[in-house]
C-alpha cells in the first residue's frame, strides 16, 4: 500500500475514534472495582454511596460579619435557592413551614402511624393513664408544647411521632436558625437534584450558590464555605485538573527540551507524539465500543500504562542513518519492537478475562492502545521522515563514560540482586506491609479540603454512612414487614448499649399489615365515648373537651392506608427514598446504625435471633474487601501474564536462558520499586500497582533493546542513546508528577520515575557487554 493511502486511513481512523469517544458516557464511580456480578449487598452499598441523600448534600457555612448579618444572609440565601430547580430542598433550620405541612397532611393519620404497645390502647384504663399524664404535663412550663393538641390527641401520639422523627438532632440553633458549635457560622443545608457523583451537576449547583450569594449584595466581610461530598468531588476534580495541567506543562517542557537537545528538530518532536496520541484514541475507542461506556479510572490508568508507547518513536529516531531509508531502519528494529509490544500486550491480556469490569476495561484499553501505537510507529512514521536527525551526541559521544568500549559496569551485574535482597531484608526487618487495601488510601481529596469538610460535617452533625443492616423482601409490603419484625431486636441492642441509635423507616412508613392492625384496635364510636367518659373520672378536664379526639378517631377508620406520598415535599420523602431500594427484581431496606460500640456483640445478637432477610454490613470493611479482591485478581492475572511474557520471549529469542536474561533486570527493577514504595507508603495501593505495571512494560522494552543484536559499535551506541532518551524522558515526566500535592499523582509519579531509573540501570548492569555477543532476534 502506498504510504499516502496508509496515512489517509490513519487519519480517518483517528477521526472515527474521536467521534466514538465523544459520544461515550464517562463514568466515575466505584463500579470500576466491582466484580461484574456484584452481590445484592454490594449493589445496595454502591447505590447508597452514589444516590444516597448524604451524597447529595451541600453544606453551606456563612462566617464573618455580625450575627444579625449572618442570620439575614442565611434567610435570603435560602429564599433564593429554594426556588431553584437544581435543589430539591434548602434549609437553614427555620422550618415552621414544614410543621404546618405535616400538621395538614400527616396529623390525621396519627392513628395509622404510631405504635401504642402491646396493651389495648383504647381501654378506659389506658386512656385514663394517658389523661393523667396530660394533666401532669400541664404543670410544666413546656405544657403549651402539647397543649395545642390536647383536645384532639390526648394520647400524645403526635408528640411521640414528632420525637421519633428527630432521629439525629441537627445542628445547634440560634434564633431558630442553624449555627455552628462556636456560634460563629450560620449553616444551611442544600440537597441537590443530581447525585453527588455527578461532578458537572455538582459544579453547576455550587456555582449557582456562589452566584446567588454574590447577587445578594451582602457585607463584604461575610464569607461562604461549601462542604459535603459534592463540593469535595468538585474541589478534588478541580485540584487534580489544575495540578495535572500545571505539572504536565512543566514536564512537557522538560521532555521537549530533552528531545530537542537530542534531535535538534521540531519535526521529530511532533512526529514523536503521533504514536502515543493514536494509541490513546484507539484505546479509548475500542474500550468504548467493547463496553458501551468508558470509566474515568480506565482512562486515567490506561493513559498511564500507554506511557510505554512514548518510547517507540525514540527507538526509531535514534537508529536512523544516512545510508539507510527510514523504512529499512524500521524494518530492522521491528522484530525487537514487536516482541516488546507483544510481551506487553500478553501482560495485560490475562486481565482481559477478569471478572472485574475495571480490569478487563484496562486490559482492552492498554492492549489496543499499545498495538495501535506500535503500528503507527511502524507504518505511519517512516514515510514522514526525510532525513535522519542530526544527533551531535553520537558523533562526539563520550564512549568511556557511557561504558561502551570497556564496559566498566561489567562486574557490577550482581548489584541489582544485591539491592533486591537488601530491600527484602529491610522490608522484613521493618515488618513491612505489602498491600494497603483501604479505599481511603485512594482518596484523591487534598488534605486541606478534607479538614474544611470535617469541621463542617461536625457542625452539621451529619450522620456518617458506616454500619448498617440490610433487610430484603419480595415486595415493598414484605420488606416493611420484615423490617418491623427486627425492631424488637434493635430496641434490645439499644437498651444493652451495643448500638446507640438506629433509623427505621417503618416509623414513618408502616406496612399495610401494621396499619390495619392499629386501626382494628380502635373501638366503635359508642364504645370509645364510653371509655373516654370513664377515663376522665377523677381528673379536672372539662366535659366535652375531647370531642375532637372522638371525631378524629372515627374519621381515621374511614381513611385509606398511607403510602410514601403523604411525606411528599418533606425531608422524610428523601429518608424513604434512601432507605427503600428497588433493584430490578429485589427489594431492600437499609437501617443505618449509629454508635456501634461492639461489632461482635452486634453480630452475635443478630445471629442468636436467627433473623432471615437481615444482613449486617460494615461499609468500610466491605469496600476494603472489594479492594482486596480486586488486587488479588489483578496480581493473579499478572502472574499469568508474566508466564505468557516468558513464553513469548522464549519463542521470540529462541532460548529460554536468553529470555530469562531479558526478564531478570525487569523483575529486579519491579521488585525493588515495589518494595521501596511499600516501605515508603506503608503498603502498595492500586495507584502503585498500576504504576508498577507501567514500570514492567517500560523495563521489558528496554531490556529487549539492551539485548538486541547490534551490527557494529555505532549501532550499539545508538541503542544506548535510544534507551537513555527513553528512560530520561520517563524519569523527567513522572518525576515532575512525584512533586504533586495530590495523592494519586505523586504515587504514580514517584513509582514510575523510580521504576524507570532502576529499569534502565538494571538493564544496563545486567546486559551484554559486547555488540558481537548478542542474541539474535528471529
Amino acid at each position: 500500500m502506498k504510504p499516502r493511502r496508509i496515512t489517509f486511513i490513519w487519519f480517518i481512523w483517528c477521526l472515527i475514534a474521536l467521534g466514538v469517544i465523544n459520544r461515550t458516557p464517562l463514568h466515575s464511580d466505584l463500579t470500576f472495582f466491582l466484580p461484574q456480578t456484584p452481590t445484592l449487598v454490594d449493589r445496595i452499598l454502591l447505590q447508597q454511596m452514589r444516590e444516597g441523600p448524604v451524597s447529595r448534600l451541600i453544606l453551606i457555612a456563612l462566617s464573618g460579619a455580625s450575627k444579625e448579618d449572618r442570620a439575614r444572609a442565611s434567610g435570603s440565601l435560602v429564599k433564593a435557592l429554594e426556588k431553584d430547580t437544581l435543589f430539591l430542598r434548602v434549609s437553614n433550620g427555620e422550618d415552621s413551614k414544614l410543621l404546618k405541612l405535616l400538621e395538614g397532611k400527616v396529623y390525621p393519620y396519627r392513628f395509622h402511624l404510631v405504635d401504642q404497645g402491646p396493651l389495648t390502647p383504647y381501654s378506659s384504663e389506658a386512656l385514663h393513664g394517658a389523661l393523667t399524664a396530660r394533666w401532669e404535663d400541664l404543670y410544666s412550663p413546656l405544657a403549651p408544647l402539647t397543649q395545642r393538641w390536647l383536645e384532639s390527641d390526648p394520647q400524645g401520639l403526635w408528640t411521640q411521632l414528632l420525637q421519633s422523627m428527630i432521629g439525629h438532632q441537627g445542628p445547634l440553633r440560634e434564633g431558630g436558625l442553624w449555627v455552628s458549635k462556636d456560634h460563629q457560622r450560620s449553616l444551611i443545608l442544600a440537597e441537590t437534584e443530581a447525585s453527588g457523583f455527578d461532578i458537572d451537576a455538582q459544579q453547576r449547583a455550587e456555582e449557582r450558590i456562589l452566584n446567588v450569594f454574590e447577587g445578594l449584595h451582602l457585607p463584604t466581610s461575610l464569607h461562604l464555605t461549601l462542604g459535603g461530598p459534592g463540593a469535595i468531588s468538585v474541589a478534588t476534580h478541580q485540584g487534580i485538573t489544575q495540578e495535572a495541567k500545571r505539572l504536565s506543562l512543566i514536564n512537557s517542557a522538560l521532555v521537549m527540551g530533552l528531545l530537542l537537545l537530542v534531535y535538534r528538530s521540531w519535526r521529530y518532536l511532533g512526529l514523536g507524539l503521533i504514536p502515543l496520541v493514536t494509541g490513546l484514541l484507539t484505546g479509548a475507542m475500542v474500550t468504548a465500543i467493547g463496553f458501551g461506556q468508558l470509566h474515568g479510572i480506565t482512562l486515567g490508568f490506561g493513559s498511564t500504562l500507554l506511557g510505554v508507547a512514548a518510547d517507540y518513536p525514540n527507538h526509531l529516531f535514534t537508529h536512523l542513518e544516512r545510508e539507510e531509508s527510514p523504512r529499512q531502519t524500521m524494518k530492522r528494529l521491528w522484530p525487537t519492537l514487536r516482541l516488546g509490544v507483544l510481551t506487553n500486550i500478553a501482560g495485560f491480556g490475562a486481565m482481559l478475562f477478569s471478572g472485574f469490569t475495571g480490569l478487563s476495561q484496562l486490559a482492552v484499553f492498554a492492549g489496543s492502545g499499545l498495538l495501535a501505537a506500535a503500528l503507527t510507529t511502524r507504518f505511519i512514521l517512516p514515510p514522514w521522515i526525510h532525513s535522519p536527525p542530526h544527533m551531535s551526541f553520537l558523533s562526539k559521544s563520550n564512549d568511556r563514560s557511557s561504558g561502551i568500549e570497556g564496559h566498566p559496569l561489567k562486574g557490577l551485574s550482581f548489584l541489582p540482586w544485591f539491592i533486591v535482597i537488601t530491600l527484602l531484608g529491610l522490608f522484613f526487618y521493618r515488618h513491612g506491609v505489602l498491600f494497603n487495601d483501604d479505599i481511603a488510601a485512594l482518596n484523591p481529596v487534598p488534605t486541606e479540603n478534607l479538614h474544611i469538610d470535617a469541621s463542617l460535617q461536625e457542625d452539621f452533625k451529619s450522620p456518617e454512612l458506616g454500619k448498617l443492616l440490610v433487610v430484603t423482601g419480595a415486595d415493598q409490603e414484605a420488606l416493611l414487614r420484615n423490617a418491623e419484625a427486627i425492631e424488637p431486636t434493635l430496641t434490645e441492642l439499644k437498651t444493652s448499649g451495643i448500638i446507640q441509635q438506629y433509623d427505621l423507616v417503618t416509623h414513618i412508613l408502616p406496612s399495610h399489615q401494621k396499619q390495619h392492625q392499629r386501626l382494628s384496635e380502635l373501638p366503635s364510636h359508642k364504645d370509645l365515648i364510653a371509655h373516654m367518659k370513664k377515663a376522665q373520672e377523677g381528673l379536672p378536664f372539662r366535659q366535652g373537651l375531647f370531642d375532637p379526639f372522638l371525631q378524629d378517631a372515627e374519621a381515621a377508620k374511614a381513611r385509606g392506608l398511607i403510602g410514601p406520598e403523604i411525606w411528599a415535599e418533606t425531608p422524610m420523602a428523601t429518608t424513604i427514598d434512601t432507605a427503600i431500594i428497588h433493584l430490578e427484581d429485589s427489594w431492600a431496606l437499609v437501617i443505618p446504625l449509629h454508635g456501634v460500640t461492639d461489632d461482635q456483640a452486634l453480630k452475635n445478637g443478630l445471629d442468636a435471633r436467627h433473623l432471615d432477610h437481615v444482613q449486617y454490613v460494615d461499609l468500610k470493611l466491605r469496600t476494603t474487601e472489594w479492594m482486596t479482591q480486586y488486587r488479588q485478581e489483578a496480581l493473579r492475572l499478572l502472574g499469568i501474564g508474566l508466564l505468557a511474557i516468558t513464553l513469548i520471549l522464549w519463542g521470540g529469542l529462541g532460548r529460554l536462558t536468553t529470555a530469562l536474561k531479558v526478564l531478570m533486570p525487569v523483575l529486579a527493577a519491579g521488585i525493588s520499586t515495589a518494595l521501596m514504595m511499600a516501605l515508603l507508603f506503608g503498603g502498595l495501593n492500586l495507584y502503585h500497582l498500576v504504576s508498577l505495571l507501567l514500570v514492567l512494560g517500560l523495563s521489558l522494552d528496554q531490556a529487549l533493546f539492551f539485548n538486541r543484536p547490534s551490527r557494529d559499535t555505532d549501532e550499539y551506541r545508538r541503542t544506548r542513546l535510544s534507551l537513555m532518551v527513553c528512560s530520561l524522558s520517563s524519569i523527567l515526566a513522572f518525576g515532575t508528577l512525584a512533586c504533586a500535592h495530590v495523592a494519586i499523582l505523586d504515587s504514580i509519579g514517584l513509582t514510575v520515575a523510580l521504576g524507570a531509573f532502576l529499569a534502565v540501570s538494571f538493564a544496563a548492569l545486567m546486559a551484554n557487554e559486547r555488540p558481537s555477543a548478542v542474541p539474535t532476534v528471529r
Binding site: S140, P144, L145, G170, G176, L189
Partner: protein
C-alpha cells in the same frame, strides 16, 4: 432525619415560651423600709432603683393557673432565687420537683423524670426573652431592656404600687393581654398574667 422537628415545634409554639416565662415571673423582694422613701414622687426609675437596691436572694412562691380546659386551677409551690446580675432559679417543690434555671442567655431545665437535662439559648426562644426580662431587667436596674419588650405604666403609691406591662410588638400582643406586678415599697408581692386566649396565672410571694 437531620431536620430537628422537635425544635420547630418549640420555636413555633409561642405559648410554651410564654408559660416558661410565667415560671420566672414571680420574683419578689423581702419587705424593707427602703431608701426610696427619701425620694420624691413615685416614678418607674425610682421604683426600679429601689428594687435593685433591695434585691434579695430567695423567696417562696405560690402559683395558681387557670386553664380553660380544666374545671379547677393548677396549683404549684416552690422557691425562686435571683443571683445578680442575671441568674434566675425556679425550684418547684409541689406537686413534683422540677428546676428551671436562667443564666445570662442560657435556659436549663432539670426534670428528675427526664433522662437528660434540657438546655437552650434565650435568644433562640423569641418572646420568652420578653418575659424573662419583665422580671430580670427591673431587678438588674436595666430599664432599657425592659422597655424593649414592654410598655410600663406605674400606678398606686409607694406603699401599694402596681406596675402594668403592656406587650410591645405583634408577636407578644398575640400571646398576652397584660402583665401586672404588684408590690409594697421595695418588695414584689404578686404577679398576674392574662393571656390573650383567656387563660391566666397568678403568683403570690411570701418571705422564705
Amino acid at each position: 432525619m437531620t431536620f430537628g422537628t422537635f425544635r420547630h415545634l418549640k420555636s413555633r409554639t409561642k405559648r410554651r415560651l410564654f408559660a416558661l416565662a410565667l415560671s420566672f415571673m414571680p420574683f419578689v423582694q423581702q419587705p424593707s423600709l427602703g431608701a426610696s422613701q427619701k425620694t420624691g414622687p413615685l416614678t418607674i426609675e425610682s421604683l426600679v432603683a429601689t428594687l435593685m437596691v433591695h434585691s434579695q436572694r430567695s423567696v417562696r412562691f405560690h402559683e395558681s393557673r387557670h386553664i380553660a380546659a380544666l374545671i379547677s386551677p393548677l396549683e404549684s409551690e416552690g422557691v425562686l432565687t435571683f443571683t445578680p446580675p442575671s441568674g434566675l432559679l425556679k425550684e418547684v417543690t409541689t406537686p413534683r420537683a422540677i428546676t428551671y434555671r436562667v443564666e445570662g442567655d442560657q435556659v436549663f431545665i432539670h426534670d428528675p423524670r427526664a433522662t437528660e437535662d434540657m438546655a437552650f439559648s434565650l435568644a433562640d426562644a423569641g418572646v420568652l426573652q420578653a418575659f424573662i426580662e419583665a422580671i430580670r431587667a427591673p431587678l438588674a436596674g436595666d430599664l432599657v431592656t425592659l422597655r424593649k419588650f414592654w410598655e410600663p405604666h406605674l400606678g398606686g403609691s409607694l406603699l401599694h404600687w402596681s406596675l402594668t406591662l403592656k406587650p410591645k410588638g405583634p408577636e407578644l400582643n398575640a400571646l398576652v393581654l397584660q402583665v401586672t406586678v404588684n408590690g409594697e415599697r421595695g418588695t414584689v408581692t404578686a404577679i398576674s398574667i392574662v393571656q390573650s386566649d383567656g387563660d391566666s396565672s397568678h403568683l403570690r410571694f411570701t418571705p422564705k
